[in-house]
């Protein structure tokens, strides 16, 4: 991370330039993703990423943060997520403590005391507010489809003008809007209004050559031969009829597992012991074993 200093948004002046910056941090983006991320930076529009699990949606946000030298602020969505967990909350115990302390000290100016209670220092900033207050920053709203629609409407409000109004304190406006990456696994259709605010990109599994390059880049210990073997096996697994085809994340896990075990070659018996790193369903493992592990390997 130290080999390049943080890059200012203005220094990146083409999608290819951004792709180079990302590549230097071991994230290999294809043409479409580079264009998407570039436009998200320049147009200040949230980037809405959809795709299979493990294709690098979250990793993109992390790498973008590294490129910009900005902190990554992550909001993991789940059902029941509400404003006090996503936006801000008042620190009630501290407010109470302050009140008691003021009472003990014999404070009499009630109006001033009340004003003090709603001071910025008693405000707990949750991810969305943090992102607005931190410049520059990268905000990752992860798996937005897991939150319920009430939250979506609320997110739309924040993302459309990057302003949060707190009744007791006033309006907080982002000096420079954060770079926003919203990811979804499509468990339900996200509302159109939210998508309309965003740039939409569908992430595919990488091509064979790109996947080999990713493995080599992320795990320098892996030989070209091993990377090619693993990538080819992963591509074949994606072609099989599996409950959960492996993503790049799984391919990397697999390669790392092989390297940790000191295995330098993908062979049927090494596949058998490490299959759990790439296939996470018993049915999938059984199916692949039944078809024969040799089928994953030939042609190497």
């Amino acid at each position: 991370m130290t080999q390049n200093a943080a890059t200012r948004t203005d220094d990146i002046n083409s999608p290819r330039g951004l792709a180079d910056h990302l590549a230097r941090r071991a994230y290999l983006a294809d043409e479409g993703l580079a264009a998407a991320a570039y436009l998200a930076l320049r147009m200040r529009r949230p980037l809405f990423l959809e795709g299979e699990a493990g294709v690098g949606k979250t990793a993109l946000a992390r790498t973008l943060a590294e490129v910009l030298g900005a902190p990554l602020i992550r909001l993991q969505c789940y059902e029941g997520l509400d404003a006090t967990q996503a936006l801000y909350d008042w620190d009630f115990p501290r407010q109470l403590l302050h009140l008691r302390a003021a009472e003990a000290a014999g404070a009499t100016d009630v109006a001033r005391l009340e004003a003090e209670l709603y001071d910025r220092r008693f405000l707990l900033a949750r991810p969305l507010l943090q992102a607005l207050e931190t410049t520059p920053s990268v905000l990752l709203v992860d798996e937005v489809d897991r939150a319920d629609d009430e939250f979506e409407a609320f997110l739309l409000e924040v993302l459309s003008d990057f302003t949060i109004s707190i009744p007791e304190l006033g309006t907080i406006h982002a000096e420079e809007p954060p770079v926003v990456v919203v990811t979804s696994n499509r468990t339900r259709e996200v509302h159109d209004a939210l998508k309309r605010r965003c740039l939409y990109h569908w992430l595919e599994h990488p091509s064979f050559d790109r996947e080999v390059a990713i493995i080599r880049r992320r795990l320098p210990d892996a030989t070209e031969r091993l990377a090619r073997q693993v990538a080819r096996a992963a591509q074949r697994l994606r072609g099989e009829d599996l409950l959960k085809p492996p993503g790049v994340a799984e391919t990397l896990d697999w390669t790392e597992a092989l390297l940790t075990l000191g295995l330098r070659d993908l062979e049927p018996d090494t596949v058998a012991v490490t299959l759990g790193a790439v296939l996470k369903y018993r049915e999938d493992q059984e199916r692949v074993v039944r078809r024969g592990l040799d089928a994953l390997l030939d042609g190497n």
Binding site: G32, F92, L199, W202
Partner: protein, 406 residues
């Protein structure tokens, strides 16, 4: 965009280069082509595309491609359409003509003689009571009639009955908390009132989990053998959509899986049905239920749509494909879903036994097995969907009874 024109994807500058206005005109035409192909490329998205081109090279076809794809599309289903339109539009061809006209005939709402007399002031010789009884029983008979053998007028009446059904679902406990008279302590609210009262605890506030309607997913078989019933079942799906638009998902299955949720969102039943039949490419084709179910689970179900949902499959179980696959997928569905309901219109026929290959394979993985061949049977289906809400305690027993068949 200063005086530069638009290039085609293959670099042919067939369109004259006259300035920014020209880029906008070109892109507006492109957006219109996309809309004709079914991509929701509205003015706001178009504006975003023009703004995106500001940051990219308008003369580079790849840049134009990505600027459009990132701003005008909003769904993976849009992408193939976008690619097709992009290739066609910028190579100078016109867009593909719209879809072929819908194969189904939708009967417009007609005044039905049976009910028209309902409020008529007939002070004739014949006693009015008779007319009323006749009408009431005619509707009652119609309720139980198999929809496959109805005249257009009767069908319209049945459609009206279906449209009136309340197919809202049972409630489930949500993760979201809401103020309640009892439950866990709501610290934030309690402290807030406490601060207002100057530090005195005057009352404790509580909150509890809110209750939300459970998601319903309807898979309607539109293959050849289901033709007489598909319209009524889709109308039922529409009634379910209206009872809970945000928690209902509708698909048609046959030889292809088609998501109809947005088509059926229209409030007027006939318009929704027109939109739905426009969208279904495989009316009255074959059935590959196992494969379709697998596709549903792969693309939507496993990701979350079927998780904890009530899944209704409306089909006669005539499986042309591998019944083993259907059984396997039904087992998978049953593991994901809260309840699996199968509506088979043939179930109501006297002497029906679930003997078709598909039905035999699916039966062990079904919670409720209902008919759905008439307005009355569809009302029963609506009741099954909303079981817990409407008649709470005896679910277990009732379910077993239904499973054993009529």
């Amino acid at each position: 965009m200063d005086g530069r024109g638009m290039g085609g994807p293959r670099g042919d500058l067939s369109r004259p280069a006259t300035g920014a206005g020209d880029v906008i005109a070109t892109m507006t035409g492109f957006a219109r082509t996309l809309r004709a192909a079914g991509v929701d490329a509205g003015p706001e998205r178009l504006q975003a595309m023009v703004a995106a081109l500001d940051h990219l090279d308008v003369l580079d076809p790849r840049d134009v491609y990505w600027a459009g794809r990132l701003t005008l599309c909003a769904d993976p289903d849009d992408l193939p359409r976008y690619d097709r339109c992009f290739a066609a539009y910028f190579s100078g061809e016109t867009a593909r003509p719209g879809r072929p006209p819908p194969p189904t005939v939708i009967v417009r709402h007609v005044a039905v003689p049976v009910t028209a007399s309902g409020d008529r002031d007939t002070r004739d010789e014949e006693p009015t009571d008779d007319v009323h009884t006749a009408t009431a029983s005619a509707v009652e008979v119609l309720r139980h009639r198999d929809v496959s053998g109805l005249s257009p007028a009767e069908r319209a009446e049945v459609n009206r009955l279906i449209a009136l059904l309340d197919a809202s679902t049972e409630l489930r406990r949500s993760r979201r908390l809401t103020p309640a008279p009892s439950g866990r302590l709501d610290q934030a609210r309690t402290v807030r009132t406490l601060l207002r009262r100057g530090g005195e605890v005057s009352r404790l506030h509580h909150r509890a989990h809110r209750r939300k309607p459970r998601r319903v997913v309807l898979l309607v078989d539109v293959s050849g053998s289901m033709t007489p019933y598909a319209d009524a079942l889709l109308r039922f799906a529409h009634a379910a959509m209206r009872s809970g638009a945000r928690t209902t998902e509708v698909f048609s299955v046959g030889t292809r899986l088609t998501r109809l949720t947005s088509e059926l969102r229209h409030r007027v039943p006939d318009l929704a049905m027109t939109a739905a039949s426009d969208a279904i490419p495989d009316w009255s084709g074959g059935t590959r239920l196992g494969e379709e179910l697998k596709e549903f689970l792969d693309r939507f179900g496993q990701r979350g749509m079927a998780r904890g949902a009530i899944v209704v499959i409306a089909s006669d179980g005539w499986e042309r494909g591998d019944a083993g696959l259907l059984g396997e997928q039904m087992a998978r569905l049953h593991r994901l879903a809260h309840r699996v309901v199968w509506a088979n219109p043939h179930k109501a026929r006297p002497g029906y036994e679930p003997l078709t290959g598909g039905m035999v394979a699916a039966l062990p993985h079904i919670d409720d097995f209902v008919a759905g061949h008439s307005a009355d049977a569809l009302a029963e289906l609506a009741e099954v969907i909303g079981a817990v809400r409407r008649r709470s305690p005896v679910i277990g027993a009732g379910r077993d009874e239904r499973n054993r068949g009529a």
